[in-house]
């Protein structure tokens, strides 16, 4: 429920792609006790910048395990990392190729769509 409050949390978010110089963007979001970092990222996408790239799916269940990022330098699920008034730094996972903003390449290799995908034989042959 949206209660009126004037509290704010501050996030410093790594933006851009591997091809650009590192850039951090500062966002202020309304803050309530118990919020997760992902709550703040989703708020930013709706209210400030729809181009912010983040990866997540289940939002609350902590079941999909797709939402990992560096929160204040630690690898965390953004959906369970507690938001604090901050400033909190959020960056993509470090050991994976960087795609954009908070999205690193965590797709298993055999689940990627290759640019030059071999046309597969139809009718059973593999």
């Amino acid at each position: 429920m949206a209660e009126r409050n004037d509290r704010r949390a501050v996030l410093l978010i790594r933006r851009g792609t591997a091809a650009e110089a590192a850039r951090y963007e500062r966002f202020e979001v309304p803050y309530e006790d118990g919020m997760s970092v992902l709550d703040a990222l989703r708020w930013i996408r709706i209210h400030r910048d729809g181009t912010l790239a983040v990866r997540y799916s289940c939002i609350n269940a902590n079941a999909c395990k797709t939402c990992m990022a560096l929160v204040n330098g630690e690898v965390e699920y953004t959906c369970t990392a507690k938001l604090t008034p901050g400033p909190i730094t959020v960056e993509p996972l470090p050991k994976r190729p960087w795609i954009r903003d908070l999205v690193a390449d965590t797709v298993p290799d055999d689940e990627k769509l290759d640019e030059e995908e071999e046309p597969r034989k139809r009718n059973g042959a593999r």
Partner: protein, 566 residues
Amino acid sequence: MPHLESDVLVVGAGGAGMYAAIAAARAGASVVLLDKSLVGRGGATVMAQMTVAAALGHQEPDDWTLHLADTLKAGRGLCNEELAELLCRGGPERILEMDAWGTRWAREGGHIKQETAPGHSRKRCCYVDFLATGPAVAGTLRRKVGETSGIRRISNVAVVQIAVKGGRALGAVGLSVRDGRLATFHAGAVVLAAGGLTRLYARNSASANMGGEACALALEAGAELVDMEFVQFFPIGHLAPRLVGMDPIMWDPFRYKLGGRLLNGRLEEFVDRYGGTDFGRYTATRDLASYAILKEVEAGRGSPHGGAYLDFRHIGEARLREAFGPVIDRLLANGIDLTKTPVEVGPIAHYHMGGIRVDGKMETRIEGLYAAGEAVGGANGANRLSGNAITEALVFGERAGRSAAARARSGAPPWEASLAEPSIERLDALKKGKGSPGAAWPAMVQSELQRLMWENAGPFRTGGKLAAALERIREMRDELPDLRVGAAGAYNLDIQDWFELRAMLLSAECVVQSALARRESRGAHQREDFAETRPELERNQVLELRDGRLCSRWITPMGRVEADRG
């Protein structure tokens, strides 16, 4: 543009999609299994925490016919009885197959343990401890998909169009989020298993990927939808205090294992007042409970966040820990001590009974286009029993995969590049960026749509509010070309959001239009201006697109058992 060929294309890799892929592959088909998220992680299946209903008869004597009778009763006369029968008859085989594949169903004395859930007349609901049913089911299927030869998995591709030529489905066009480009998929048959639409609502239990794209894709491909007005609102979704890392519908197993009490803002029991028989232990069906809670709120007797209290203080710590061990600690970490304070709960959108209209082979009226899982409408009629949805995903998935493999064997018409044109044109227009700098962007409009649906097409509906919603949704559709999207390229979610929003608006329009036309209250569809159930409306509404316009008609529920046997 990447182009893939396979016998069977499966769109959506939740429980239904993964089972479909396995079944198609073991019938000898080559399979491409696509998901806009990561395979096995994007939808509802991995999030489920409760139970799966199947008449195994392990806990006590049971039979699929009893499960069917319960399912039909909950469906308030609207079930497609052929589909309901398939679900109930097929459940046990799927549960046992999953058991053989390594799903660790909770056991007791050597057999699979089964509990009762509201509306089930027998102990028939299996689960995996603790609150891990969905992760266990998704994990088993993901592993099995990986081990099955013939399945090519692809993550991060969102299907934006089903390709149809001359009334025959022959593939799909997808948006690869990774690089912002389109890809085409040619197949002998397509299974749409892209899940439900509960993310259309501001209060929901949904993942990020449940905006009703399956229904929109099917409708645009020429298939029919059925029962779109029937959205199940889960009565006791978590409202407060803020709880992270746990699903908002986690309270159901608590209350049926332990007997939680549902109390209004004055700490009084109240479900009995609305025709339930609660006796201090909440066992009412979902639609009745939702109704009772919201009526209390309306009467000024709600909890502070607009719901009711769920109270376990009478249970005692020892029993709480015995039943939910580690979950109790997770709650404490969120500052919630059930022995001391009740939590606040209220209705949230949770499941969609309506969806794509299929026959007993899971085929739509478009040849070669199949559907499975929550995307399918009809099996559960006007209201779904707890535990029936995962069973539906597994049973229908297996069936759709098998049917699609058989269809693909007869070959598919050849691919033509022109089939992808509508999607190419849409993407090109977006990239040209007509949207002015001051314009709204897709995620923002999605959020507006969610609020609109919650306020105007939620658990309690009136003709006036529905009509207003319909008007606004149509405006929003007209505004789609003017939205602002960021530069194309790697992982631009704006573009994915735009295609998603386009589908969400179409699905939302279907829900609202059907809800407006159903001038009665039945099951999960409650009209404040038409409170009675009208026997003459014991009929299903079928929707189709004709020249871009949504047209509906009423039919007698399909597959009535009496009729079939008569």
